[in-house]
């Protein structure tokens, strides 16, 4: 069942993005940035984790989950160390994604040239 909802929810978040591109004429950068910020806000309101429980990868794969993960990391650390934890904990949860993107991005630049 979670496979079905992963497909549907993931797809719907992308449709929201597509509407932002085509109807509101945002650039892809503006669109993804907006979605990340929305994810952070929903994370702060504790609305995003329930979506993850419901739709699994349908909520963790879109870029909105990056915003949520950043907030969760900051809040978790704040609970342990107080307000300064907001600064020190932000990248806790997301370090896998950022590290992977840098490492594999660089690797591909070593291996490949543009195809045009």
């Amino acid at each position: 069942m979670i496979f079905f909802w992963a497909f549907v929810v993931g797809g719907l978040i992308c449709v929201i993005g597509q509407i932002m591109l085509d109807v509101f004429k945002l650039t892809p950068a503006h669109m993804t940035t907006t979605l990340v910020v929305v994810g952070a806000i929903l994370g702060g309101l504790e609305l995003y984790d329930p979506l993850i429980d419901f739709a699994g990868a349908g909520a963790t794969v879109p870029i909105t989950s990056f915003g949520n993960a950043l907030v969760r990391g900051a809040l978790a650390e704040a609970e342990r160390s107080g307000l300064v934890g907001v600064l020190t904990g932000i990248f806790e949860v997301t370090s896998a994604g950022i590290s992977a993107a840098i490492i594999f991005g660089f690797l591909m630049a070593l291996l490949f040239r543009s195809k045009g």
Partner: protein, 339 residues
């Protein structure tokens, strides 16, 4: 000599020879047979797209000089421009040619800026043989103006495809031997900005500039609507061409619709993935210096007005929320049969 804003060239400078070079997409287009050199390799065997663009311009220039029966040293002045920052393609080609050089920039209208100035120099007696050329490379333009080439952004249907190619011509005095295609007049454009801000919709941004220049040209020379066999715009493509033709009709210019065409629409087939059509300095450069001049020599066209169109924006101006100022330069050519 001038009529209104339009330059006339009483000594009738003409084109001794011209050449067009293209890339893989252009090789699959309908004008392939009118290119002097076509490349399968998008990189032209170079290790950057910028160096590939330079190679395109070098080849076009060498070919044009060769076809004119001249050597590099015979060229008095080299007039060239391209789309890259600081027009490096032209600068480095000028380095290879080692002749006096004037770099030009009107974005995609540079081809006719070059041809107009070449005719002016020869007509004024300041030079006997002037080489003029332009080049563009799809990937080099995309990198600079838009996005990395492998980036998965979705382009709208109004976007255009920068032509990978180069065009060059040698302009000489009226009495010298050549193709028989004379340069009769040139109208320098004014910058026109109708507030279009979308760099993925340059056709709509540039059309008003083309209309302004065409109107001025016809008014200055008091021409009938059917004076030219063909009025060609550089890279308005599907969107801009339609707007241009409709606008001219609205302004009462009485130019038969079937005598208006656009290089960006001619260079690619309908089924090639080029969105609204071709763009780039080489759009007018390859089609005019290749196909059109050959058609004139073949006897299929006698009087042509080439109106190259350019969008004078930069990535910075776009990010600073400026609109897109555009310009169009027109050069009139006529085939004169030997007496």
């Amino acid at each position: 000599m001038r009529q209104g804003r339009t330059w006339l060239f009483p000594t009738r400078p003409h084109i001794a020879a011209s050449a067009a070079v293209g890339g893989p997409m252009e090789a699959q287009g309908p004008l392939a047979r009118d290119f002097d050199v076509l490349h399968e390799d998008f990189w032209l065997g170079q290790d950057s797209f910028e160096k590939a663009e330079q190679k395109l311009l070098e080849e076009a220039c060498e070919k044009a000089i060769e076809k004119a029966g001249m050597k590099k040293e015979d060229i008095d002045v080299f007039l060239a421009g391209d789309l890259l920052n600081q027009i490096i393609t032209s600068n480095f080609t000028a380095r290879a040619l080692a002749v006096p050089y004037l770099g030009l920039f009107s974005a995609c209208a540079t081809s006719m800026e070059g041809l107009a100035l070449a005719a002016l120099l020869v007509d004024a007696g300041k030079a006997k043989r002037v080489l003029t050329g332009v080049a563009s490379h799809n990937a080099a333009s995309e990198r600079q103006y838009r996005y990395p080439t492998e980036y998965g952004a979705q382009k709208p249907p109004t976007a255009q495809w920068t032509v990978t190619g180069a065009g060059a011509a040698v302009v000489v005095e009226g009495h010298a031997p050549g193709t028989g295609v004379h340069i009769t007049a040139a109208t320098v454009g004014r910058v026109v900005d109708m507030g279009i801000q979308d760099p993925f919709n340059m056709g709509a941004a540039m059309a008003p500039a083309a209309v302004e220049t065409i109107e001025t040209h016809f008014r200055d020379l008091r021409l009938a609507g059917d004076h030219y066999d063909l009025i060609l715009t550089g890279d308005l493509a599907r969107v801009g061409h339609r707007i241009c033709v409709d606008l001219l009709a609205e302004r009462g210019l009485a130019i038969p619709r079937d005598r208006m065409a656009d290089c960006g629409l001619m260079i690619y087939r309908e089924d090639q993935p080029v969105f609204a059509g071709g763009s780039g300095a080489a759009s007018s450069g390859t089609v005019f210096y290749g196909h059109i001049l050959r058609e004139m020599v073949r006897g299929n066209l006698r009087r042509v007005l080439m109106v190259a169109t350019g969008a004078l924006l930069s990535p910075v101006s776009y990010q600073q929320k400026e609109s897109i100022p555009c310009i169009a330069h027109a050069v009139a050519v006529e085939r004169v049969d030997p007496a």
